[in-house]
Every structure is written in structure tokens, then in C-alpha cells.
Amino acid sequence: MSDRDIILAAIRAARVPAAPPASAAFATSAAPAPLASPSPAFTTRTDDEALHGAFLRVLAEVGGRGVICQATQSLDELLAAELGVDKESAVIVRGRFAVVENGAVYVDAADIGARNSIVLAEHLVVVVPYAAIVPTMHEAVRLMPVDSKCGWFLSGPSKTADIEQSLVFGAQGSRTHRVIFEMG
């Protein structure tokens, strides 16, 4: 028998009792159901502020910077003002949507050049449509394209705390990370 057959046979021989999918388990549990979309628990927390405001705050906490490109402003002008001399070494990519709870943006490999370019970039800029924003990962994973070959949730710049837990940005990937919301 091949290793594949041995492993699958051993799993089936273990006769693990049936267990319902997580969402079904939730529907019957006594706990509040945060898996409904959009997450009520999370949106309660952000009732008093717009989703974008909450996103920008979380993004700052994870070491990134977020800017909303106003309708009166061109994206090129904003990028020039934001990046200055760093524009030469910046990689600017399109993101599909932003996630409020963790400051992440989803970037799909279909929208960028080489896959490793987002990590090789010294300065990464992700441009996201203003309206493309969801509260939590529950909504976010459902927006991942079904035919995606590769995609990323990017939350802030590359970082490490492996030396005495001192936070250092730019461990191996981007040193700075910006998210720009584009109107229209």
C-alpha cells in the first residue's frame, strides 16, 4: 500500500465521531453568534465611529499608515506628497478590500507583477476602493476571489520582535506600509 492509502485507511479506522461544521455548532450554542455577517459584536464596538476611522486607527497600531484620497485630489499628487523621495523605491499595487478589525488589506496575485514584489518593496503602497471595507475576517474570507491563485492579507510593514522582543520594522519585507483609499 502507498503511504497515501495507509494514512487514509488509518484515519478511517480511527472512527472519529461525526461533528457538525463550526457554523452549525454556533447556531445551537448558548454563546452569542458573532459569525453572522456583519459581525454584530464588532460593529457594536465601532458604532460611534466610521469603519474607515476604525481601520486607520488599527492600521496605525500595526505600524502602517492610511490616507483617504479626497475627491478633489489626484492619486498621483497624493502619492508624490506621501512618499517624497521614497517614490523611487516604492511599489504601488491595487488592493481589493480592507478589513477593519486588523488593519489588513487583501491583495491578489492577479493584480500585481511578480508575487515577491510586495515583499521585496522597500516601501509598499496599497490602493483600495473607498467603499471596499468590511468589519472582520468573517466577511473578508468570503470576498477572496474563488479563482485566486495566490493572495495576501497584509497588515502593516514587515516586522520582527525576535531580539529581546524589541519591535523592529522592515525585518525582511517592506519597511513602510501605506494604504490609500481611493474615492469613486
Partner: protein, 456 residues
């Protein structure tokens, strides 16, 4: 003493360093507390437990579904019954492509399988690219923590190590400068490797995707730069749906480092044009545990490290005291299944305070399994030295009220007259250096209550 107690005693000789280690890990625990302070946290943990229980109940089907989708996407899926088979598969892939230099991002599975020494013996150079893992690799040590492999290293020591191995200036201790030097060193390894090996934080049956989480971005440089990407994963990494992935990602980083999510979360289903992608699915004892109803849920572990950071024993004894690739409370319930003879002291490396179970994002009942392993150690005649003769006696005394009260009265009387030096002699396994017998109170609670006239 042998096993964990002996190794822990060695760790505690340097009291100042042990206290520093304890504080470092407690800091991680506090970050976890802050990160998990979201209203739906306990509901999320229930969902995490449910999605893992569900995945284990349909594991064979999910693995087949994953294989079908991944294969359709051009990924080559391999199956390995044990560590040897896993290592041979990886070597075969590298050999057939003539690769002599590989980069590796953090993977506890490849540590478990001993992949590095195996490949090095075959003349293949392996560079670990997670900064912490590179530090311990340069020092020829294994990781001492599954998430922060070099948590036991001080910056001065890392400066000295980098001076010796990377030529950084002598006396450099700034984390910024040391990390900057490592960035250059590691990017070179990542971009010039013939293949990149990664682990997997999850395999998603519904998408055929491999999910890898890092903060440094090293896994992405490693998998998207060379012409070959090999992802090595234990079969228990399988989850059913993208909805499950959303739950798992909300739990993982918050539990590990307190971050809301890691800086890089990669979901890859298809090799990039002109490159090859392999997934190696590894059993190595997992199906045996799956058949063990008492210990099965240890397979739910997502390797966040929260139980290590909170454990009063791990914090005060260090990762190496466990003598196993996975340390801390989760290691203490995983290791005995690998080799009970060798690891029989680990289920006793716990106060059973229950904190590990409380912080576990997928609600593994670690304390219950520690206790169950203790029972199995006893049944196998592998109780730590001294326990086998004392426990039956204690059982007889503590299970009957009159015997207990008589023993307590005797203990109270004799502690006053017997010299402390004799009580803490070598014969007594409860009193070791640093662990003195407390003074027994003059009056028991029951005696006080009787005197105060509040009960029987």
C-alpha cells in the same frame, strides 16, 4: 532526578536569567490578554474548537478534497507516513532539480522530522530564515519556543553571535542594527536558494489553498522567489472551509503575540508560472493519536504558543527542559505519545493550574490530558522516582477525613521538633533547593471553625 526536573534544575541555577526568562514570557501573556480583549472572544474560541473537531471528524474526506483541488491547480501532493518518508520526499524533489541550497521558513513539522540534519548530511545547505530560528541555527541549537525560537537569547549574546557569523561590528547590541544586518544576510539566502521550504498554518479543503502566516515576510520571499516551493504540513492542519479560515486567523495571532493578525497572511493555491509547488502531507504518529479518543483533541493545536507563555512551569524552566520539539503544556501532552519512556516526566511538569486550557484558542483541555498521561505513566510503571511509593500512601491518608486530620495533627506537632535540615533532606522529593516546606499553621480550618462555633 532525571528528565524535566533535572533539566529545570539546571535552568534555575542562574536565578537572574531564569527571572528574566519568566518576565519575558509573562510580557507575551499580557500582550495576548490585550489582543484577545474583544467582546466575542469566547464565542470565537468555541468556533475554533468546533471547526477543528469537525475537521478531525472528516479528515480523510477533507484531505482527499484538498488533494483533488490542489492537483487540479498544478500542485504536486505527496503523502508521508513518517518522518523518514517525509525527509526522503523532500530530498527527492531537491535532488531531481539539482538543488544544493534551500531556504526554510519556520516549520515545527520539519523540526519534528529532523529535516535540517537529514538534508545537511546529504550535502544540501539549509538556511532557516525566520530571524529567531536563524539565531538558534547559527548557534547550533534547536528552538526553545515554537513561536519565538530565540526567546532565551539576550541581545548582547546575539550581537556576539552575529559578529562571529555575519561580521557585524563587535559590541553591537541594538536590535535595529542587528535586525538590519540579518535582513541583508537572509534576503541573500532567500533570493539565491534553489528551493524554498515552508510550513503551513492551515490547509483549506474548500479552496485547495495552503495558508502561511509570518510577520517578517520571509515565507513569501522563500516561496515566491526560487523555482520550487515545498510546503510541509501535518495532516491535522486541514480545515474545511474559508469560513473556518476566517475564525482561525482571528484567533491565531491574537493568542500568540496579541496582534490582530500577522503582517503577512498568504493563501496560495497555484504555483506561479514557470515554477513548481509541492505539498507534503505528513502523518508521523497523528493517525495513532486520532484513534485515541482521550488524547485526540491535542491534534487541534494551531501552534500559537499561548499555553507556553502562560505556563508557570514553562516560564521558570525554559524550553529545553522539555527535551521535545514542542515545548510547554502542549508539548507535555504531545511528547508522551511519541515516546512515553523518554518523556514520562513531562505530564508532571505542571501545577494543573489550568491556565493553559483557559488561554487555548481552540479550547484543548490540556490539564485533563496532562492528568490522563499521568495515569498512563503510572499504569506503565513510569512514575517519576519517589512518586510510586508515596502516592498510594497519600491516597489512603487524604481519602478519609479521620486519617487526614490525624496526619495533620502529627505533622503540626513534629514539624516543630524535627530540624528543618532533615525535613528538606534528599529523601524528600517535595523539598528541593528553592522549594522549602511551608510552616504548617497551628490550627486547621476545621479546628478554627469548631472553636468559633460555626459548624461541625
Amino acid at each position: 532526578m532525571s528528565g524535566h526536573p533535572a533539566a529545570a534544575a539546571g535552568f534555575l541555577i542562574d536565578a537572574e536569567r531564569a527571572a528574566w526568562h519568566d518576565q519575558s514570557l509573562w510580557f507575551m501573556r499580557q500582550k495576548r490578554d490585550a489582543g484577545s480583549a474583544i467582546p466575542e472572544w469566547e464565542s470565537l474560541r468555541l468556533a475554533g474548537q468546533a471547526l477543528k473537531t469537525h475537521a478531525m471528524s472528516r479528515l480523510a474526506d477533507l484531505l482527499e478534497e484538498f488533494e483533488r483541488r490542489a492537483t487540479a491547480n498544478g500542485v504536486q501532493v505527496h503523502w508521508a507516513r513518517d518522518a523518514q518518508a517525509h525527509n526522503e520526499i523532500v530530498l527527492g524533489i531537491l535532488r531531481s532539480a539539482g538543488v544544493t541550497r534551500v531556504s526554510k521558513s519556520k516549520s515545527m513539522l520539519t523540526e519534528e522530522c529532523g529535516l535540517n540534519p537529514f538534508l545537511e548530511a546529504q550535502g544540501i545547505e539549509v538556511v532557516d530564515t525566520d530571524l529567531g530560528e536563524r539565531i538558534v541555527q547559527l548557534a547550533k541549537e534547536p528552538p526553545s519556543h515554537i513561536v519565538i525560537p530565540a526567546i532565551h537569547w539576550k541581545r548582547e549574546e546575539i550581537g556576539e553571535l552575529f559578529h562571529r557569523t555575519m561580521g557585524t561590528p563587535a559590541g553591537e547590541t541594538s536590535p535595529d542594527a542587528l535586525a538590519a544586518a540579518a535582513r541583508v544576510h537572509l534576503r541573500d539566502a532567500l533570493l539565491n536558494a534553489g528551493a524554498g521550504i515552508t510550513g503551513a498554518n492551515a490547509l483549506v479543503a474548500e479552496t485547495g489553498g495552503v495558508v502561511v502566516c509570518t510577520n517578517e515576510g520571509n515565507a513569501d520571499l522563500g516561496m515566491h522567489s526560487p523555482p520550487i516551493h515545498i510546503a510541509c504540513a501535518g495532516i491535522e492542519k486541514m480545515i474545511a472551509t474559508r469560513d473556518d479560515l476566517g475564525v482561525l486567523l482571528r484567533l491565531l495571532a491574537r493568542s500568540g503575540t496579541g496582534q490582530p493578525v500577522t503582517a503577512y497572511t498568504t493563501h496560495v493555491t497555484t504555483p506561479r508560472a514557470g515554477s513548481a509547488m509541492h505539498v507534503v502531507l505528513v502523518d508521523n504518529g497523528r493517525t495513532k493519536r486520532l484513534a485515541d479518543a482521550t488524547m485526540r483533541s491535542a491534534l487541534h493545536c494551531i501552534r500559537c504558543g499561548a499555553c507556553l507563555n502562560t505556563c508557570p512551569v514553562y516560564r521558570r524552566s525554559g524550553g529545553y527542559s522539555y527535551g521535545h520539539v514542542i515545548q510547554g503544556p502542549i508539548g507535555a501532552i504531545l511528547a508522551p505519545a511519541v515516546d512515553l519512556d523518554r518523556h514520562h516526566t513531562l505530564p508532571f511538569a505542571s501545577t494543573l493550574c489550568g491556565s493553559c486550557g483557559d488561554v487555548c484558542p481552540v479550547r484543548i483541555d490540556i490539564p485533563a490530558q496532562l492528568l490522563a498521561w499521568r495515569a498512563r505513566s503510572a499504569a506503565a510503571g513510569r512514575l517519576p522516582r519517589g512518586y510510586a511509593s508515596i502516592f498510594p500512601l497519600l491516597g489512603r491518608v487524604l481519602s478519609k477525613l479521620d486519617r487526614y486530620e490525624f496526619a495533620a495533627r502529627m505533622a503540626r506537632r513534629f514539624q516543630k521538633v524535627i530540624p528543618a535540615s532533615w525535613l528538606s533532606g534528599r529523601w524528600n522529593p517535595w523539598t528541593r533547593p528553592g522549594r522549602a516546606l511551608p510552616v504548617i499553621a497551628d490550627e486547621s480550618f476545621r479546628e478554627w471553625a469548631r472553636r468559633a462555633g460555626r459548624g461541625s
